[in-house]
Symmetry: C5
Subunit: 380 residues, 5 copies
């Protein structure tokens, strides 16, 4: 009672718990900095078809010279632990207080907002854990302007943008020939595609659980199934609004996004739908697994009961017979008092009857198939 034990391995990082809510009645646009949040690091990537710069900058103001150039500037802020820097960044990128609040509040629902000269896209990125099931989840805000893309990540570890950065650096594909809209698509696509490896792990876990549930259901299996359902629910909450937001992006045709990139976005939308499909399928399978678990527990109890019943049904009658001949009726007082005790073949006959009854019952149980099943338990 003193020490509260945590049986559940905690998967969720802080951002899962939705605990940084607006305290009722606070001024809208208030920035709340979580004490545990890591300090922000700023990575600037600036490129056009010929040039490429990638450097870590210390202050948001250092980005200013790059923003007005013709080249594409990608400012990637990682970590939300410094109010001063966040506010200066707000001034550099001319973000309204409401936008800044959305960016900093790490439990926003994915959404898109069109402010004519810029687009705000709140996304949720998932990264699979290395050695175990589960995933890290963090919020990524994309602010797309004419000449720049600002992305704000919740924390510096775990992102899935390295592939995009490499494509820019190496000039793979058409990314160096395209504008900020294509860059925003590439980042968004990396976020959506980041769901697949997470889902694949759950697919594997589901298969493992299937076997476990039928062969050897224990209390731990139950924990795992529930845990799995909870995490799939989190994935679902992350992907649904994301899909809606991408759809809104395609439908509302912002001027910031060219026709060509629209086609790529449709591809990205298809992938989001596919993620959703898989999440829903896995959820149905996990919920079916719970039914199977319940049945398997019932089955197991059946086997236990059968063993008890077989043992009891065979030995209880036999013990009764032994009990009869353990009675002390006085054989001398009357020829009818337990004459068997004095028979010449009394004891062997008694044993024979017991053996006959015991084997007979065993035979009956065997014919009903009860013995087979109780052997089946042994195999597990």
């Amino acid at each position: 009672m003193l020490k509260k034990l945590r049986h559940f391995p905690k998967v969720s990082t802080k951002s899962h718990r939705d605990e940084f809510y607006h305290y009722p009645g606070t001024v809208p646009g208030t920035i709340i900095i979580d004490a545990d949040a890591p300090p922000p690091t700023i990575l600037l990537i600036d490129y056009n078809q010929t040039d490429f710069i990638r450097r870590q900058v210390a202050t948001p103001e250092e980005c200013i010279p790059y923003l007005d150039q013709e080249s594409v500037s990608w400012v990637d802020v990682q970590g939300l632990g410094n109010q001063d820097i966040l506010e200066r960044m707000g001034r550099v990128f001319e973000l309204s207080p409401l936008v800044l609040e959305d960016v900093v509040n790490v439990s926003e629902r994915p959404k898109v907002e069109d402010y004519e000269d810029r687009l705000l896209f709140i996304a949720r990125m998932v990264v699979p854990k290395e050695r175990t099931y589960g995933f890290y989840s963090e919020q990524v805000s994309l602010i797309l302007g004419k000449q720049y893309l600002l992305t704000v990540q919740e924390e510096p570890e775990h992102d899935c943008f390295e592939g995009v950065r490499l494509r820019i650096e190496k000039g793979k594909g058409i990314i160096r020939r395209q504008g900020t809209d294509y860059l925003a698509y590439a980042v968004l696509d990396a976020i959506i595609d980041g769901f697949f490896p997470v889902l694949e792990r759950y697919g594997e876990q589901l298969e493992d659980l299937e076997e476990e549930v039928i062969a050897k259901p224990t209390r731990k299996t139950l924990q795992k199934i529930y845990q799995l359902r909870r995490e799939l629910l989190q994935l679902r909450r992350a992907i649904w609004p994301q899909r809606d937001a991408i759809n809104a992006l395609i439908r509302d045709r912002s001027e910031l996004i060219s026709e060509d990139v629209q086609i790529y976005l449709r591809d990205c939308y298809d992938h989001a739908v596919q993620v959703m499909d898989m999440v829903e399928t896995y959820r149905e399978l996990a919920s079916g697994l719970m039914d199977v678990y319940l049945s398997a527990v019932g089955n197991k109890m059946n086997e236990v009961m059968k063993l008890l019943t077989v043992v009891s049904s065979i030995f209880i009658p036999l013990t009764f017979i032994a009990g009869i001949y353990g009675m002390n009726f006085n054989t001398e007082k009357s020829p009818y008092n337990m004459p068997e005790l004095n028979w010449y073949w009394g004891y062997p006959l008694c044993l024979a009857v017991m053996g006959f009854i015991g084997l007979g019952l065993l035979f009956l149980f065997w014919r009903r198939g009860w013995l087979e099943n109780s052997t089946a338990i042994k195999r597990d």
Copy 2:
């Protein structure tokens, strides 16, 4: 039978039970005053960019001089226990009987109604209980006019508007520079944001219940899960129509609400959607928890049955053997009658056989893993 016991701690305050319904056939617009309702207190806040007045007024008529001024007037009525005052207030604010009925009937469904020169918004406010799980819930009616905002609360205790009042008093944010529409938004936003702390508590309770259900499921756990589901259902009934009403407010663009405040309302709408999302997620988790509970109960029965079966299966055959040698067949009448009784090593041999059988069965059960699990019970 004489004394009806209440095992369930009652969470719901009166307004939850929807018990003040229109008695079929009564005149529409009838005001029914609940005998237990607290008497109304009226708080007047009047402010513009430079001035600020906050005072308790005794009669609705005292508000009249403030209503026509250029300044923003917020009349906050708390408590519905006095028909006379309510009717006079209806006259002061020129409320139609149907509106007044909606305001006084404390089990209305959240909704918005546009009467051109004023807006009626029926909302439901939740405030978390201090020491325990659960929440107080009360109806708040907002009547938004050109120069005033009238809010009517069900009872004076528990509201979540203090933050708004302080922002006005201290002049924090832009509230003092804005009109009644912004004030109405601020109040509405405080109501929606008031759901988050309540939900956070349920999130914690869910985690506690998860552990409890797997480690030590008792009848009390069952009660708590059901209770949780019931309260989440209440939250759901409160937030769904609220979201629809805010959506209608945004979509129908009343003239009383400026463009700027529309943007803030969209933010408020996002939060309402987020609340809904969380409620639905928690409901799914709670319903999954019930499945887990059922399985855990089955599991526990399995453990109990296993213990019984192990004990019975080992001792029943042994007792049978003891029974055999407790029989009284006359060894003198025949050499075949229980000759074992007269063997030199008879008793030790018999004990040895018993020990062998007992240990053999124990070994079999150990190999099937039955002994492990029954130890697992001890750990709980």
Copy 3:
């Protein structure tokens, strides 16, 4: 087998069973009179702002002089047991065969139909039973003309229109100053509001069942829960189409209904939505209760099993020991044959060992908490 017992108290009156269906292939517009239907009584209420007449009339034709006057005429037919009267009424009010069929067929789905010069509204009215849970349900057809309102009830007992009649008689509210459309609204509103007292009873029953299900679940509880679910399903089938019909009435703006009454109808629609909300909430609670019941039954079995296991696990080993010393090995043939029997402290030692084992097992069970729970059973 001879006498078929009805364990279920029948709630449903005949109209619930939907048993008067159109026999396939009959002429549309055929009137089928149920042999058990009560004979119709006709109540005429005629009023304007100054005058009021209320009288029982014997034949439909007696209403004719009232129908053409400027005053509002409300003809209320109660009971469907006389084909002749119903057909004459059809002629008096110029009802087409299809309309008359809808009116007489008491298992129609609530709906509204607009025939330009008149409106047909099929509604379902529920009235709570006096002493027990459950409700009477009957169909009410409203035919709204320019100068009259014809209502046809399935049977004369149980209606919820008395409040409306009194309001007309006493001149309460604005009803005497309004036309037939307002009267139709008042009747419809009384029908919708009639669901609230029925629902309140179910709310109470749900709370009672919650306690019963956790504290002392019996087979009767199961019956009650199923019964409750069935009746809520009936309520749901009654209120859903009714809400749709009122919505259609508001949306399609018949010329027979004035702008003012439209506003009142919206209020009535809000109440219908509230009823629906409550029905759905209660249905979810009742269905959750079934889960709780299943778990509670499992819990109870657990307690029973625990008691059995405790008793068996303690006494079976002890009985085995007693069995050993009940064996008849000949102590004279060998010093190894049950020497304990001849020890000086043999018997007390044996009892001491038994006591030690028994108390030890008891202690183990106590530490696992098994004894507590079995005491908990006693408390019920």
Copy 4:
């Protein structure tokens, strides 16, 4: 293993199994004749306001003279077992191969198709079985032309058109004064109304099952519930698309259907909606019944367990006491060795203690209410 037993009474006739699918890759419009299909019989009914002809014709070509007349011709083909006749009929009525395929393929989904000069309506007709629960189901195709109605039934037995035929023959209602569109409505209406008697039977079966499930749940009850759910699912699959098709008919206003008949079709649509409502309600009840069954099985096991526990808990301790005094400790070796055996009142005291313990336990069980319930079992 040799003889495969069918425990389930098969309700479904062949057409239920959807087994005549298009083999992948076959030419569209291919007619597949089932070897078991009954040979077609053709019934011609030709009528106008004054004349009426009803005769069995041998070949489709015999219908030709009637088709061009002003009178209404109803050609009713029953049975699909002759490819030649079906193809000749296709030529007589100028049916395209795709239409003919739809007509002959007896597992089509109900639908409507408008070919300007004719309408194709694929419907599913159900006819209740005579002595048992369940129904026959067959496909009926209606082809509505200007001067004729062609109906093609899957088999000659069981239809629900006799009422329509009699109405034409006797001139009941307005059918003789109307065109082919009204005839098509009358046939469609008979098909929809044919669902009511089937549903009524299921309503009765549900009530019977309710009693059975609570009073005496056996394995057969389980079978029946599952069977019921399966058949309701079939009904649902039949009525949903039928409702959609009627709705499409009303919405798309074919030129072949007059304004007047549109009104009748709306009535028919209302009935289809009512059938759907009932099917859904029954499905919910049946699914609730399964929950009740599961709980009832648990309840019953509880009763069994209670009896076992009562018997064991009372007799196992008593047997232990008897065991103690059956031990053979040598009373002569020590005064502490079972001195009770030599007491004067030893045996009566021992019996008294046993009786006291036994009655005491019985009293405890009685107070817990365990004895009542086990008596309740007896009543079943």
Copy 5:
């Protein structure tokens, strides 16, 4: 532990596991070749009303001369295991990188995309396994141009196009007189119709499982039901988007598809809806079967418990009586010490009492119907 056993027979071929996802951050349009994928074989069919050519070609370039002719060319690529050939094919048919990626990525969601001069249709084809339940599933991409149809299958084994190829070769139906659009329809129709034989097997399996679940539910039955549900879920994921895609094809009226073929496509759409209907019905049945299974397991445990209870309840009291008369109270010390032992009829009376009690209990159990049921077990 060392050897991980797979209890589940794996149905899914690789493409089911969705394991070839876009690695987050890769260039869109990247072609990933699975190492296990079979090398492509290319089958060219070229025909018009008079001529027909069918030949295996080695390189994509060999098709070029056929593509520009007036005749219809069907290039059918089977297998995706050679990147070079796929890329050359992309050049021959002028496929954009995004299209080629969709074609090669074998876990795309079925969809249709209209690129004005060509149509891309991603479909999923299922082929039933020969000897067992289950199906092979592979992706088929259709690219429809003016003069050619390119189909790309995942692997060369198992397709359902042989019927179409034969129809072309033999000139059956109208296929030789039609263009590429009709050919595309024929292929699509073969794919959709390919679901029916798969579903029919599941229909049969469902019936078998129904019997098994009620008569003899074992752990294997549970496996089979879960397996069935999982596979139906896969079918569902395959058919839903396929139906949507066909619908989009009909609705968006590409210029590549003539009016005539539109009508055929509607027929194809009807079949897709029918497949969906069946899948949903089977899923509901399978999920109902799980409930039945759980109940059946409970039922079986009931039977086992009954047997145990009958045996225990009869023999435990009898053994107790035998125990009493096995006690060693000294009959010589007191006339009250077990005088029965010395009675003349003592033993026979004792046996008689035992027999009476035993038969009496048996009679009670028989009257409660417990004996019948336990015989029922024997029958299984």
